[in-house]
C-alpha cells in the first residue's frame, strides 16, 4: 500500500493554477486601496497588464464618477471587513483601460498578512446576463404595451380559471383597478341577470379546456351596462400543458341593439305578412266558394233556357221563318258558351286549389280523335276541313277526360281563329317513348310579341278582337298538360297559322283503371 501523494492543487502550485486559470478577475487590494496582485484574467478583462495595475489604486478599475464614492466605501470596509458573496443584487460597474464601462458582480474576501489587512475581490463580467435581462424586459414591455393599447379588452387566467391579468382597455372600460378584477373579481361587473348563465358557460368551458364565446352585459365605469362578447381560447405551453385562458371582450352593445331592433322589425313585418296572407287565403276560399256556388246556381236557369229552347224548336212554328231559326241558334250558342265558361271557371279554380288528380285509363286514341272532331263539327266554318293522320298503336293510356278538354280546346281554337276554306290538320304518333299530338291551322296566328303570354290567365291576343273567348282555355290546357307530365309547344306566325305540339309520356299498364 502506498500513501496517496497530495495532489498538486493542494500546495502553492495548486493555488497558482487556480489563480492563473480562473475566468474571473481576482485582485488583491491592500488597506490603502492599492492593487497588490491581479491574475491574468484581469488583464484580459480590463485591458491593463498586471505590471500596470500593481501598486495602482483599485479605483483605476472603476468608472470616474464612482471612484470617490468607492474609496469611501472601501475605507469603511477595511474598518470592519467581512466576506461578501457575489450577486447580492447590487448594480456594480467596472471600467476597462479603454474607458469602456461594463456591469460586474463582485465577491469580496479578506485576510491579514504580516499585520496588513488585505481584501480579495472576485470580479465577474456580467455584460451578457445584463444584456439578456434587458432584452427580456424590453420584450415584456413591448408585449404589455401592445396588450394595453389594443382596442379590445384582453384578459388572461391561470390554469384554475382565475383571472390574472387585464389590459388597460379593460381597466379603463370598467374603471376598476387590476387588483379588483383578479381571481373572480371581474364577475362583480357582470349584470346580475346575466351572471348565472355567464358563470355556468364559463365553468363548463373551463372544465373541458374548450374555447368559449359568451355575451353578457358588463358594467362600465359610468355605471352603465354594455353588451359585450367575451371570447376565450385555452392556452398551452409548448409541452401541451394547459396554462389557462387568453381572451378578449368586444363591446357589441350598439351592434346588439341594432340587431334587436332589426329582429323586432322582422317580427312585426312577419306578423303583418301573416295577417295579409291569411286574409288572402280567406279571399281565395271565398272566391272558390263563390265560383262553385255561382256556377251551380247558374246551371239551373241555363238548363231551363236550353230545354225551353229545344221545346220551341220541337213545336216547329219557326220553320216558316228563317230569321227565327237564326235567332234560336244564337240563343243556343250563347247558352252553350256560358256553360263552357262556367266550366272553365270551375276547372281553373279546382286546379288552383290542387284538387285535380290524374285519372288514367286505356282507350282507342283514333276513336277518341273522331269524337273530338264530331264534337266541334258545329263550330266549323264554310269550307273548313279537318284532316286526321296517325302512326303507331291506337291504344293509349292517358287521362281521357283531360285530354278531351285539351284536344277540344285546341281544335275549336283552330276553327275559331281560321278563316273559311282552310284546312286543319290533326296528327298523333304513338311510339315506345311517348305519344305526340299535333293540331295545325292556317289561321290568323299569334302575334310574336304576345306569344310569351299564351298560357296566362285571361290572356287574349290583340288580333282576337271580335272573336269570343275568356282567355281561360289555354291556361287550363297548359295546367292539364303539366298534370299529365307532358309538354306543349307551339309555333305561330301572324297571318299564316299556328301549330300546337304536345308530347305525353307513356304510362305502364299497371297504373291505370280500365273503363
Amino acid at each position: 500500500m502506498t500513501v496517496q501523494k497530495p495532489t498538486a492543487l493542494e500546495g502553492e502550485a495548486g493555488f497558482r493554477v487556480l489563480f492563473n486559470c480562473a475566468t474571473v478577475s481576482i485582485i488583491v487590494v491592500n488597506e490603502r486601496g492599492c492593487i497588490e496582485l491581479a491574475n491574468p484574467y484581469t488583464e484580459e478583462s480590463f485591458g491593463y497588464s498586471v505590471e500596470e495595475l500593481t501598486g495602482e489604486p483599485v479605483e483605476i478599475l472603476i468608472p470616474e464618477e464612482l471612484r470617490e464614492k468607492h474609496s469611501l466605501i472601501r475605507e469603511e470596509y477595511f474598518k470592519d471587513p467581512e466576506d461578501r458573496p457575489m450577486g447580492l443584487g447590487m448594480e456594480l460597474y467596472a471600467r476597462r483601460k479603454n474607458g469602456e464601462v461594463f456591469p460586474v458582480e463582485v465577491g469580496l474576501g479578506h485576510y491579514e498578512l504580516d499585520n496588513e489587512k488585505l481584501a480579495v475581490a472576485f470580479i465577474t463580467d456580467i455584460s451578457e446576463q445584463v444584456q439578456a435581462r434587458k432584452i427580456l424586459a424590453d420584450r415584456e414591455q413591448w408585449l404589455r404595451s401592445m396588450a394595453d393599447n389594443a382596442p379590445v379588452m384582453i384578459w388572461v387566467t391561470d390554469s384554475n380559471g382565475k383571472w390574472t391579468y387585464f389590459n388597460k382597455t379593460w381597466l379603463q372600460f370598467t374603471g376598476r383597478l387590476l387588483e379588483d378584477g383578479l381571481g373572480t373579481g371581474w364577475t362583480e361587473n357582470v349584470h346580475p341577470n346575466d351572471l348565472p348563465r355567464t358563470v355556468t358557460n364559463y365553468n363548463n368551458a373551463l372544465e373541458n379546456h374548450q374555447s368559449f364565446s359568451i355575451e353578457y352585459r358588463l358594467r362600465r365605469h359610468d355605471g352603465k351596462y354594455r353588451w359585450i362578447r367575451d371570447t376565450g381560447n385555452p392556452a398551452y405551453t409548448p409541452e401541451g400543458e394547459f396554462t389557462g385562458y387568453v381572451g378578449c371582450c368586444h363591446d357589441i352593445h350598439d351592434q346588439r341593439l341594432t340587431q334587436e331592433k332589426l329582429e323586432d322589425l322582422v317580427w312585426h313585418r312577419t306578423k303583418r305578412l301573416h295577417k295579409v296572407l291569411s286574409r288572402e287565403k280567406e279571399m281565395n276560399a271565398l272566391k272558390s266558394r263563390f265560383v262553385s256556388m255561382a256556377s251551380h246556381e247558374l246551371r239551373t236557369p241555363l238548363s231551363i233556357a236550353l230545354s225551353s229552347l229545344m221545346l220551341v224548336e220541337q213545336y216547329g212554328t219557326w220553320e216558316k221563318d228563317e230569321r227565327v231559326g237564326k235567332h234560336l241558334q244564337r240563343i243556343r250558342t250563347s247558352i252553350n258558351s256560358i256553360s263552357t265558361i262556367l266550366g272553365d271557371f270551375l276547372s281553373l279554380d279546382k286546379l288552383e286549389q290542387g284538387k285535380v288528380v290524374l285519372e288514367l285509363e286505356m282507350f282507342d286514341l283514333l276513336k277518341f280523335m273522331y269524337e273530338v272532331i264530331e264534337d266541334v263539327k258545329a263550330l266549323k266554318k264554310k269550307g273548313q276541313h279537318i284532316y286526321l293522320s296517325h302512326k303507331g298503336d291506337r291504344t293509349v293510356i292517358l287521362d281521357r277526360k283531360k285530354l278531351h278538354y285539351i284536344m277540344k280546346n285546341l281544335v275549336s281554337n283552330a276553327i275559331k281563329y281560321s278563316p273559311e276554306y282552310t284546312d286543319i290538320e290533326l296528327n298523333f304518333e304513338n311510339n315506345e317513348k311517348s305519344i305526340s299530338m299535333m293540331v295545325r291551322d292556317h289561321g290568323i296566328g299569334i302575334p310574336e310579341d304576345e306569344q310569351q303570354y299564351m298560357f296566362n290567365k285571361f290572356f287574349r291576343a290583340k288580333n282576337t278582337e271580335g272573336i269570343s273567348g275568356t282567355g281561360l282555355g289555354m291556361t287550363i290546357v297548359n295546367q292539364y298538360v303539366e298534370l299529365m307530365k307532358g309538354t306543349i309547344h307551339f309555333t305561330s306566325k301572324e297571318g299564316e297559322g299556328t301549330t300546337f305540339t304536345m308530347e305525353m309520356p307513356q304510362h305502364n299498364h299497371e297504373n291505370h283503371t280500365h273503363h
Partner: protein, 125 residues
C-alpha cells in the same frame, strides 16, 4: 208506353223535362222532392227514374239508397240529372248504383239518348 218519374225541385226544369220526354213518347210522373218521389214510386212503379241531387226534404242520394234497399225497387234504372259539377259527387252517385248521370244544362239529344239506352236494356231483359 214506358213510364218515367222525374224527381226535381225546380218547377221549370221539371216541367220542361216532362214535356221533352212526353214528346219522345214516354208517360211522365213528377215529384218535387225525394220524399214525394219515394211515395210516387210506391204508388206506381215507374220504368225509369230521373232524379236531381240537391233537393229539400230528401236529397237524391237518399232516394237512391232507399230504392236500392228495397227488393221491389232495386232494379229500377236510376239516372241522376244534376247541376252538381263536383267530381266527387258524381263518383259517389255512380258508386251507389246509379245507372247514369246527366249534367245540367243538358242537351235534349243527350237526355233522350240516355233514356232510350236504358229503356232498351229493359226491353232486352
Amino acid at each position: 208506353m214506358k213510364t218515367i218519374l222525374i224527381i226535381e225541385d225546380n218547377y221549370d226544369i221539371r216541367d220542361n223535362t216532362a214535356e221533352i220526354l212526353e214528346l219522345a213518347d214516354y208517360e211522365i210522373m213528377v215529384a218535387e222532392d225525394g220524399v214525394q218521389g219515394l211515395y210516387k214510386i210506391k204508388e206506381r212503379r215507374p220504368d225509369l227514374v230521373l232524379c236531381d241531387i240537391l233537393m229539400p226534404k230528401m236529397n237524391g242520394f237518399e232516394v237512391l239508397r232507399q230504392l236500392k234497399n228495397n227488393p221491389s225497387t232495386v232494379d229500377i234504372p236510376f239516372i241522376y240529372v244534376a247541376a252538381s259539377v263536383e267530381k266527387d259527387e258524381v263518383l259517389m252517385a255512380m258508386d251507389m248504383g246509379a245507372d247514369g248521370y246527366i249534367g245540367k244544362p243538358f242537351e235534349v239529344e243527350d237526355l233522350i239518348e240516355k233514356v232510350r239506352e236504358k229503356m232498351a236494356l229493359l226491353n232486352r231483359e
